[in-house]
Structures are given as structure tokens and as C-alpha cells.
């Protein structure tokens, strides 16, 4: 009997699983892989060692690898790639994976696993990676057969980057990475169970158009989906065309130029009065790539009951984001870029425009809210105000830096006071709210854009959660600028304790802080301590002039400063606390 091999085996090279994994990443155009070696991934590291195309960045903790890959993805729009070992490598990576998942960031995470025969035997450094990561990934795979590896990695990139993006984990047992198979990378992959919608329904877009043109008090509310969907130009074009006010969520900052007169600022728990009041009082609300989450609209019952006649149009690539917390009148499922392009075409095709008198009245109403000047703070203070540092950072970097942040008060001040003009410049953890992301985010961004200014706005609490990555920055020469707003407190925790827990500052004081100047120097960087308002700008100028050095600027700021406005948890978005009310 004649033995017939399938044609692929005759032409395809025989490679090990490890070599296949690396070749697949090359095919996908991966520049950087962020990782940390260990027993289960030794064959993959060996394959990495033998090639030149992909640069591996050795972090100091797996969490840093995931955040750096995530930051790279947020800044570039390309999927971030991380490689970690089994067991603790995976569990350390979980925070980073969950962070990316909550903000819909495309990542492909290769994880080592114990050999297939040892799975389930409580082997050394074994954990159920697929089980542990399942609720925090878009999808995950355990590859038990080396002949399926290339196809699985192709699927991983496809799933991670299409539809609503997200992290995908590919778990590779050690024996699979050492077995050989004919290598063939599929050019395309079809999944019958996964076909994200891109084009919006024409009839729904038509309905949206009618509502928008008839609006008397319109509002455009743009979230992170517009950034992820690369729809900033379309958002800007549509808003200019209609003359409507526009707000961005924390994740949407940069999708519309912040210095434009139609921009009313960020909305939400720490949004501006004008943005929150316009949301609450609008008669037609166009939501673009946003999800009405609790930090944005506060109490959904208050949002609905306070304005029961408001019509809502919601564009999102993920149907489950629509009518989840808020009932929507015109749902449009599709890629925001595609849908907005169609909507703009329909606006251009009609001569009808929104009632100019109604619009003028709405804008004058908004002007009265703006006049409250809700972001004002004491500019004459003798002690450094954190807001002042961000304003100076904006000036010194000419509004053109990539700004990463950690989580807390400093994050909100950066969002309020740095006016983002372009998408993908503001890199922060919105959904999961992960302290510690700022420095590794800055690493990922700096690797992608070595010539750009990259600032990490952080606090003395957050920065210590991934401080070990200062060593990675030294090794790979990543001269990011760390703006540490040091108020000796977990500021946001302290603020909530002041407002809602009778000034009992339980465990929120950061005692025994390190000398950050010496710490930076110990890692081979430059450290600065800034204690007077007059020294803020000179210090920033000096730091950003040092193009080839990482500079850690430790700003000693006002301990009692709070973030305003504030919508207390569970309240409606028009129920804001303003600074003068305390």
C-alpha cells in the first residue's frame, strides 16, 4: 500500500513547538515580547535566543511584563505580547491580564505549562492556567498537540485584535514546545462561532440621524471604544459637522481634541460640571464606544428617572454593552469607525441641520455650567498643589507627551488637567483600576516611540507596586520621566475616608517611605526632590531636557488636596460635590 502524506508535510519545515511559536510571532510582525523565563518555557526561550527579529524585554516581575505589553498595545494599537512561565509566572501575570481585559486591550499571552503527562498531578509550578485566567480573558487555549500550535496562535491574534479587543492566553505544555511538527502558518482563519459585526445597520443609522437632526439639547458621549476603533477623526468630524457639545470618558480622552471649544471636559465621578450636567439634561444622547459604567453615570436609576424623555443612541461593537445599565432607544452594533463614517455620509447627504436657535440656547445653558469653573484650585498656595504640577507638565511637554498614570487622585488630576489632543496619548487603567501600571505602561510606550516624551504620573503609593521595573528601564535604556505626586497618603483612599468615614484615615498613611531620590540613583537613574511651587517648572524643564536619562521627580504636594468635582458612589451624576461646598 502506498503511503500518502498530506501536501503540507512534504514542503513544510519540521520545527519544534518552541520554534513554531516564535515563527508565528514573527509572521504577526511582533517587535517586542515582554517576559520572564522559567522551567516550563525554557525551550521557547532557547528558540528566542536563536533568532534576531523579535526583541525580548526582561522585566523584574511578570505583572510588569503584562502591563508593559498592555501599554505598548494602548499606545500603538498593535497587540502586545507577553511570555511567562507556568504556575507563579501565570498567577503573577493575572493582574496584568485582567487589567487589559477590563479596558479591552489586545494582548497575546504565551504561558508555559507543565508537560502534558504531568497535568493534573499537582506537579512543580503547575496551575490550571486556563481555569484561572478564564474570567479575565477574551478567550484562552491549552495546546496539547504540537500540530495545532500554529493554527492556535493565529486564532489567538485574530480573536485578540478583532471585534471588541481583549487578551488571549495560549497555554503551551513543556513537552509540546519540544515536539516537532511541520510548520505552516495559516494566512486566514475562519471561526464559525466568532464573527464580530463591523458594519452598522443602515436603518438604525437612519433613525439615529433623524433623532440627531431634531435634537434641541444634544450631547455626544465618547468612550474608549473610539480610541480602540481608531475613530478619533470620525468623532471630530461628526461633532464639528453637527455643532454639538462633546465629552470624553476617562478611557476616551484624546478621541476629541481637549482644547476645542465644543469639548466640555471629561464626565463622570470626577467629571466637569458642564459635562455631567449636559449628560443629565440632554434630550438626545449619542454614545460612542462607551458603556455607561458606574464611574461615568453613577446611579442608573437616577440617570433614567431624572430625564425620562431623553433618547439614547448607542454605537458599540459589543452588543452586550448596549442596554446593560441603561435602556437604549437606538442601538447600533458595529465598529465605531464604520458606523460613524456611514452616519457622517448621511449627515452630509441631507440639507437639514439641527435647529440653530435651540442649539444656541443649549450652548448658553452650558456656558452657565462652565462658568462655575469647577476645576479651580488655589494657585497662590505656598505648598505644591498637585493640579499645578500637571498644568506645568502640560506646558513643558507642549501637550504632546504620552502620559501614563497609576490609579488614584493623581490619575484624576492628570485626566482633568492634561489636555489630550490626540488618541492613544493617555495610557491608564480605567476599568480594573490597577495601581502599579504606570511605570511598566511607560516602558511599553517608550519602546514603541523612543523619540517621544513619555511621562508617568504617579503617587508614592502606586509607584511602589511595580518599582522594581526601574531596573528594567536601566537595562533597556528607557528614559521615561516619572512625575511622583507625593502626598504621603493613598490620596483617593484618604479622600473617601475624609468624606464618608468621618476622617478616620485607616491604614491610608504611607509611613516609612523610601528616599525616592536615592532609590532612583541606586537603580542608576536621576532623582529630584521638589518642595516649592516655584521649583516645579524648572525641575520639569531640566528633567525633560535630559533626553537620555530616566528622571524620578518626587514632588512633595499638599496632603489635604481633594479631587473635585465628585459624584459620591451611588449618587446621580448631577449630584456633584464641588470644592467650595466643603
Amino acid at each position: 500500500m502506498e503511503l500518502r502524506l498530506p501536501p503540507v508535510a512534504e514542503t513544510a519545515p519540521q520545527l519544534t513547538g518552541a520554534e513554531i511559536a516564535i515563527r508565528c510571532l514573527e509572521e504577526e510582525g511582533v517587535e517586542f515580547i515582554f517576559g520572564y523565563p522559567g522551567g516550563a518555557v525554557l525551550f521557547i526561550y532557547d528558540a528566542l535566543f536563536k533568532q534576531k527579529k523579535i526583541k525580548h524585554i526582561l522585566v523584574r516581575h511578570e505583572q510588569g511584563a503584562l502591563h508593559a505589553a498592555d501599554g505598548y498595545a494602548r499606545a500603538t494599537g498593535r497587540p502586545g505580547v507577553a511570555l511567562v512561565t507556568s504556575g507563579p509566572g501565570v498567577t503573577n501575570a493575572v493582574t496584568g491580564i485582567a487589567t487589559a481585559y477590563m479596558d479591552s486591550i489586545p494582548l497575546v499571552v504565551l504561558t508555559g505549562q507543565v508537560p502534558t503527562r504531568a497535568i493534573g498531578e499537582d506537579a512543580f509550578q503547575e496551575c490550571d492556567t486556563v481555569g484561572i485566567t478564564r474570567p479575565t480573558v477574551k478567550h484562552n487555549f491549552l495546546v496539547k498537540d504540537v500540530t495545532r500550535l500554529a493554527e492556535t496562535i493565529k486564532k489567538a491574534f485574530h480573536i485578540a485584535t478583532t471585534g471588541r479587543p481583549g487578551p488571549v492566553v495560549v497555554d503551551i505544555p513543556k513537552d509540546v514546545s519540544n515536539q516537532t511538527a511541520p510548520y505552516h502558518y495559516p494566512e486566514k482563519i475562519a471561526l464559525r462561532s466568532y464573527n464580530p459585526v463591523t458594519k452598522g445597520h443602515g436603518g438604525q443609522i437612519k433613525k439615529a440621524l433623524t433623532l440627531l437632526l431634531d435634537a434641541k439639547r444634544p450631547m455626544v458621549y465618547v468612550g474608549g471604544g473610539a480610541i480602540l476603533g481608531n475613530a478619533a477623526p470620525e468623532v471630530t468630524e461628526l461633532v464639528h459637522l453637527l455643532g454639538f457639545p462633546v465629552t470624553n470618558t476617562l478611557m476616551g480622552l484624546g478621541s476629541y481634541p481637549a482644547t476645542d471649544k465644543q469639548f466640555v471636559g471629561m464626565l463622570g465621578m470626577h467629571g466637569t460640571v458642564e459635562a455631567n450636567m449636559a449628560m443629565q439634561n440632554s434630550d438626545v444622547l449619542l454614545a460612542v464606544g462607551a458603556r455607561f459604567d458606574d464611574r461615568v453615570i453613577g446611579n442608573p436609576a437616577h440617570f433614567a428617572a431624572g430625564n425620562p424623555t431623553r433618547k439614547i443612541i448607542h454605537i458599540d461593537v459589543d452588543p452586550s454593552s448596549i442596554s446593560k445599565r441603561v435602556r437604549v432607544d437606538v442601538p447600533i452594533v458595529g465598529g465605531v469607525k464604520e458606523v460613524l463614517t456611514d452616519l457622517i455620509a448621511q449627515v452630509r447627504a441631507t440639507a437639514q441641520r439641527p435647529d440653530p436657535a435651540a442649539l444656541a440656547a443649549w450652548w448658553s445653558q452650558i456656558a452657565t455650567w462652565r462658568a462655575k469653573d469647577c476645576l479651580k484650585y488655589d494657585r497662590a498656595a505656598a505648598i505644591i498643589k498637585p493640579q499645578f504640577v500637571i498644568e506645568k507638565l502640560y506646558e513643558v511637554t507642549k501637550g504632546d507627551a504620552y502620559v501614563t498614570s497609576d490609579v488614584g487622585q493623581h490619575q484624576m488630576w492628570a485626566a482633568q488637567f492634561y489636555k489630550f489632543e490626540k488618541p492613544r496619548r493617555w495610557i491608564n487603567s480605567g476599568g480594573l483600576g490597577t495601581m502599579g501600571v504606570g511605570l511598566p505602561y511607560a516602558m511599553g510606550v517608550k519602546l514603541a516611540y523612543p523619540d517621544a516624551d513619555v511621562a508617568c504620573v504617579t503617587g508614592e503609593a502606586s509607584i511602589q507596586m511595580c518599582i522594581q521595573e526601574l531596573s528594567t528601564c536601566k537595562q533597556y535604556h528607557l528614559p521615561v520621566k516619572i512625575v511622583n505626586l507625593n502626598n504621603r497618603y493613598m490620596g483617593m483612599v484618604r479622600q473617601w475616608q475624609e468624606f464618608f468615614h468621618g476622617n478616620r484615615y485607616a491604614e491610608s498613611y504611607m509611613d516609612a517611605l523610601p528616599d525616592f531620590v536615592k532609590l532612583a540613583e541606586a537603580y542608576g537613574h536621576v532623582g529630584m526632590r521638589i518642595e516649592k511651587p516655584a521649583d516645579v517648572e524648572p525641575a520639569l524643564r531640566e528633567a525633560f531636557a535630559m533626553k537620555d536619562r530616566l528622571v524620578f521627580m518626587d514632588f512633595i504636594t499638599d496632603q489635604t488636596e481633594n479631587v473635585f468635582p465628585m459624584v459620591p458612589g451611588g449618587k446621580g451624576m448631577s449630584e456633584m460635590i464641588l470644592s467650595e461646598e466643603l
Partner: protein, 163 residues
């Protein structure tokens, strides 16, 4: 409101845990869940009975559709459908109970599938309501053990759920 969701999933390892995990993670109810391969070996069919408001069930359906392994989701209770559940009940059947249990099984069109000196095991198929009614009709004290499969269902008429 009670809903019966029929779900076609890829016959992959872990597909069941993805679905079950979704329900627990998002706080949705599962009253019954059944799963078995279909005539197409690459697909399994799951039937989940859940309760919730229309908004909640709409979210459940959307979230299920989002799972990469889920091929199709249909809410059978939206249209005319047939639902069946199988139950095995082991009852004490000694003395005067023996005849009474047999008669009750006949009324409910149950079949006695195992007999011992002091017990009968009755197989009964029907809607959840009918199975509940049978248990109600039996003297509580005679019931030794019950096991139910959970609901499976299919739409009426020529409409079929397939890829």
C-alpha cells in the same frame, strides 16, 4: 420569568466551564443545565433553564453569544416548543404502598424499571411541572431517592436549531 435557552457550543474541552463560569461570575441563575453531543460530533447542545427579568435574559443571551465557543443561542420560551425532563424515583413499595405506587405511576404514565422486594424505581418523562406534580402526588414518606436530568427542549414545527 422562566426561560429555556438552547445553546450550540463547539465540542471543545472547557466549553461547559466557560458557560457555567459566565453564569456564576455575573450572578445569573441556573435552574437546570444539560449538555450532550449532537449528531454533528463537533457540536454539543446545552439546555439551560434560567429565571430573570427580560433585561437580564437579554444580557444572558448577549453574554453567551460573546463566548468564542458558543455558536448559537436561542430562547426556546420565545416561541412554541416542547420541553422534557426525565426523572428516576426510587420509592418504598412494601405492603399496602406497593399497589398504590403502581397505580400512581400508571396515572402519570411512568414505567417501573426496577423492582425489589421493598422498592420500585419509576422512570417518568415530561415537563418539569408534570414531574413536580408526580412527586406531590406520592406520599412524601415513600420517596427514597430522586434524580432528574434537567430540561431539554426543541422548537415546534419545521424550524430547527443548527449551524
Amino acid at each position: 420569568m422562566r426561560h429555556i435557552l438552547s445553546i450550540l457550543v463547539e465540542n471543545e474541552a472547557g466549553a461547559l466551564s466557560r458557560v457555567a463560569g459566565l453564569f456564576s461570575a455575573r450572578g445569573y441563575n441556573i435552574e437546570t443545565l444539560t449538555v450532550a453531543p449532537t449528531e454533528d460530533a463537533t457540536l454539543s447542545r446545552m439546555t439551560i433553564v434560567t429565571t430573570g427579568s427580560d433585561e437580564v435574559v437579554e444580557q444572558i443571551t448577549k453574554q453567551l453569544n460573546k463566548l468564542v465557543d458558543v455558536v448559537k443561542v436561542v430562547d426556546l420560551s420565545e416561541g412554541r416548543h416542547i420541553e422534557r425532563e426525565l426523572m428516576l424515583v426510587k420509592v418504598r413499595a412494601a405492603g399496602k404502598d406497593r399497589e398504590e405506587v403502581k397505580r400512581m405511576a400508571d396515572i402519570f404514565r411512568g414505567r417501573i424499571v426496577d423492582v425489589s422486594e421493598k422498592s420500585y424505581t419509576i422512570e417518568l418523562t415530561g415537563t418539569t411541572e408534570k414531574l413536580d406534580a408526580f412527586l406531590e402526588a406520592l406520599d412524601r414518606a415513600t420517596i427514597l431517592e430522586t434524580v432528574r436530568t434537567g430540561v431539554c427542549g426543541v422548537g415546534r414545527g419545521e424550524w430547527v436549531l443548527k449551524v
